[in-house]
Amino acid sequence: MGNPMKIRAASKDGVTEVKVLVSHEMETGQRKDAAGAIVPAWFITELVAKHGDKVVLTSDFGPSVSKNPYLAFKFKGGAKGEKVTVTWKDNKGDSRTDEAAIN
């Protein structure tokens, strides 16, 4: 289920800027722990952002993305009070969805 994401969305002059702080370990699968055993890979593979029902961003994530990634993007449209939804899936089959209202 993962920890909640922090999402801010602000609309200005017909363009909505969305900022997302994802809480995720993002293990590459290449690090070793103190005992020398490989730390198993655990990272987000796919992230989708929707404005209402409309998909505004899809992205393929991989092991090179940092821990607790920060993401910012803009899309045309969006008005105060409407919802922006962000969903990620990781390589362990886990996923999480969070939403925020545009202001």
């Binding site: 922090k6 801010r8 602000a10 900022k19 702080l21 821990k67 607790n68 920060y70």
Partner: protein
């Protein structure tokens, strides 16, 4: 801060009974500070919350204020690592329970943040009230400081999203601070008496011992390295930056250019007063571009002056990287014009 304001307090009480003391001793020098002057200066908030102003603020209002005044440098979530180290992040629920941030000692943390280190919430309050926002320190009202602090505590997952922070409950928040037990006072940097004598430090004993050399000592001091030539001017004319009395003068670093600098000093004062010098250097980038870099970019463009005036006024972003320049509507138009003309004519 702690020591100084205590002194002032004692002095204020003392001087109330013998008001003419200082003036008698130093004829014609200065006057007593008025209670209002002392009050304006005495803004510190201490770990026991002495000096804390009354007020309250909620997370939502803090979010609005943070977006408006803080996010351009610190990032919307206090996560920005571009200019400053991040404000929030790096602590766990266990840390909040234990009062010690485990990541600091285990080496697990890639980077420290404000909330992994700070042991007293009063320090954060005091700092925001005293020094933030960078371009307009002390401009926040008490309620706004409470709101911004509530937002930061929420980012750190110490308080819930509907939390209202006030002077009444800030002591309860202190009990939830992740690194509240992380402060040590048993070292020489802590002033006052040692623990044995009822103080909290070690009595100012240094961590290292500098023993006098008794044999095989070096006969004379040799200067092993000096600043390379290209770096000598990195901080401008050093001689001008030292006080004009006493033995220390500072090396003359700029040579003949120094004369021009003196002529431009008036405008430099204006730039310093207006907050420009917090982010812009004379020659090189601090947060924003250095003035000589600006001159180089806009050289030969006839409309450069009017464009830059508009930009200083309204703020801008993107020309010199992603850190935005905040708008400066509070400056007078003629001051902005003077500053832009000064920058384009080579400042120094």
């Amino acid at each position: 801060m702690f020591r100084f304001s205590k002194t002032i307090l004692v002095f204020a009480l003392f001087s109330a009974s013998t008001a003419a003391f200082a003036i008698d001793k130093y004829q014609g020098v200065g006057r007593q500070a008025t209670p209002a002057e002392v009050k304006a200066w005495d803004i510190d908030v201490r770990p026991d919350f002495k000096g804390l102003p009354k007020g309250s603020g909620n997370v939502e209002r803090g979010n609005e204020l943070f977006e408006e005044k803080c996010a351009s440098c610190h990032g919307s979530f206090g996560e920005s690592n571009e200019v400053f180290t991040p404000l929030a992040g790096g602590t766990t629920k266990d840390d909040i329970k234990a009062g010690n941030v485990k990541g600091l000692s285990s080496g697990e943390l890639p980077q420290r943040t404000t909330f992994t280190k700070v042991a007293t919430i009063s320090t954060v309050f005091d700092y925001i009230q005293r020094a933030m926002p960078w371009t307009a320190p002390k401009s926040l009202k008490a309620d706004e400081v409470y709101a911004i602090l509530a937002y930061l505590l929420n980012l750190q997952e110490i308080v819930p999203a509907d939390f209202v922070l006030s002077d009444k409950n800030i002591a309860d928040v202190q009990k939830l601070l992740p690194n509240r037990n992380g402060m040590t006072t048993d070292h020489g940097m802590w002033p006052g008496a040692p623990a044995k004598k009822g103080g909290i430090g070690n009595g100012g004993k240094p961590d290292t011992a500098n023993k006098a050399c008794m044999k095989n000592c070096k006969p004379e001091v040799l200067i092993g390295s000096t600043l390379p030539d290209y770096a000598r001017t990195a901080h401008g004319e050093l001689r001008d930056q030292n006080r004009s009395f006493g033995p220390v003068r500072g090396t003359q670093t700029l040579g003949p250019e120094a004369a021009k600098k003196a002529a431009d000093a008036g405008t430099l004062d204006l730039a310093t007063k207006s907050g420009c010098m917090a982010c812009h250097g004379m020659k090189s980038k601090i947060v924003g571009p250095g003035y000589s870099e600006v001159v180089a970019r806009y050289q030969g463009q006839t409309d450069a002056e009017s464009r830059l005036i508009a930009k200083v006024k309204a703020g801008g972003q993107g020309v010199w990287g992603s850190i935005p320049m905040p708008p400066n509507g509070h400056l007078k138009d003629e001051d902005i014009t003077t500053l832009v003309k000064w920058i384009l004519s080579g400042s120094k």
